[in-house]
Amino acid sequence: MRKFSIFAVAREAMRGHKGWEKQWTSPEPKSEYDVIIIGAGGHGLATAYYLAKEHGITNVAVLEKGWLGGGNTGRNTTIIRSNYLYDESAGIYDHAVKLWEGLSQDLNYNVMYSPRGVMMLAHNVHDVQVLKRHVHANRLNGIDNEWLTPEEAKDYCPPLNISQTARYPVVGASLQRRGGTARHDAVAWGYARGASDRGVHIIQNCEVTGIRRSPTGAVTGVETTQGFIGARKVGVVAAGHTSVLMQMAGVRMPLESYPLQALVSEPVKPAFPCVVMSNTVHAYISQSDKGELVIGAGTDQYTSYSQTGGLHIINHTLDAICEMFPVFTRMKMMRSWGGIVDVTPDRSPILARTPVPGLYVNCGWGTGGFKATPGSGHVFAHTIARDEPHPINAPFTLDRFRTGRLIDEAAAAAVAH
């Protein structure tokens, strides 16, 4: 794979940009691999990339029923932060933030990581107590997070309405300056390029229809729409469809799949400098480099695989946006869409071995998995390669729902569950 550099850009400029090569190959599936990853989203591709880069396992296939990065990786609101309450969560999400910081250089692919700051608003006494508790817990874990007065919040984000006569006035905010956004598609493409360059096969339009097991119960491979493909190790990284895939191996999961919606406005000049989230009035918003306001809404109340949600959910979010940012009341919304998110009972992910030998699962990221993409792939690759968890993902077992050692991040996302 030819490296991207200023010299490559200059060379191609001289040649009419005819020398750029395909960024990943599309090979026919082999009959057998060392490892199969099901799902070519950010987490699955990152897993394959780190399997090849860190563990030297390159005989890997990533199977994708649709197209690469076409699920939740291409549907999220691209927010990155690590200001989680509990030590276990702080560990895994900050591991990801540290990888985000050097990811463009590592991949030689610009993922446009932009640490523009993530501000979370408090509207009442309860919010203040919860957010201050987060600030203190984060600082004890070495994660930057600070408390702002309404005036300081407005200084940081000028469009914010801090009028005390608002229906839900802003009474304070917490700010993680290392938080921000990245370009979601570029993350999938960068990992795909890096993995493909190291010999990983990315096979699109290949839906897994069954998981084959030996008489001893161990995984021997997967049935797909392109025929049987053998592997002794299979990693399921399928977000909203995890329950469906795990059922093929006879494993019931502590997961429920819900539609989660997002929407973007028409593009405008740079007007919004950071990411703002509000749990209470239920909205989060940032501005993409293209100029669109990127707005995240909540989940629908019922489980669904429809990849669409109710209009009243979006309406509720826009009500909140218009009150917090009156400057946006006349913006036109351009597109809205839904993705299917897999939610665990404690709102924390599962990255673990399963009761089936050779079967591994990375799921349960719920409404906020994008931020964890590099960290998730990194520790999940370790789990598959060594057949034991990395210390960072050791607490995120499937067994915690039996032992009761939950990681209860009820406020994990800024949306009500």
Binding site: S257, Y302, T303, S304, P345
Partner: protein, 119 residues
């Protein structure tokens, strides 16, 4: 937004009058003291979460206030039937076979009258 047929009110009402209340027909053991932790964890946390037909509880919280069950397709979000709490889960094959006589809210439609031959 879904339209949902409440089997108590016998009316189609918008989804915002209702509260979803999870998978239906989960039975808590009458003797949890002797139940193993695996069984209790399964009752408490494991869910079918099917891509297809699901039996789920709803509560008509801004109406009659009562719980009832619905059979819904999670791909199309079409409700195939609703029935009162405590009633057994209907046979899925007959529910699916009867889908064309049911509105997307689960409301039974009038059976087509067999055409009479004119005298």
């Amino acid at each position: 937004m879904l339209l949902i047929h409440c089997p108590y009110c016998e009316e189609e009402r918008p989804e915002i009058e209702f509260r979803h209340a999870g998978e239906a027909h989960l039975v808590r053991s009458s003797d949890i003291a002797t139940q193993g932790e695996l069984e209790f964890a399964a009752y408490l946390y494991l869910r079918q979460n099917p891509k297809g037909v699901v039996a789920e509880r709803w509560r008509h919280i801004h109406g009659c206030g009562r719980f009832f069950n619905a059979i819904r397709d999670t791909v199309s979000d079409r409700i195939l039937t609703t029935y009162k709490a405590g009633e057994p889960m209907p046979d899925l094959d007959s529910v699916l076979a009867n889908a064309e006589n049911t509105a997307p809210s689960g409301k039974p439609l009038m059976q087509p009258v067999a055409s009479k031959s004119k005298a």
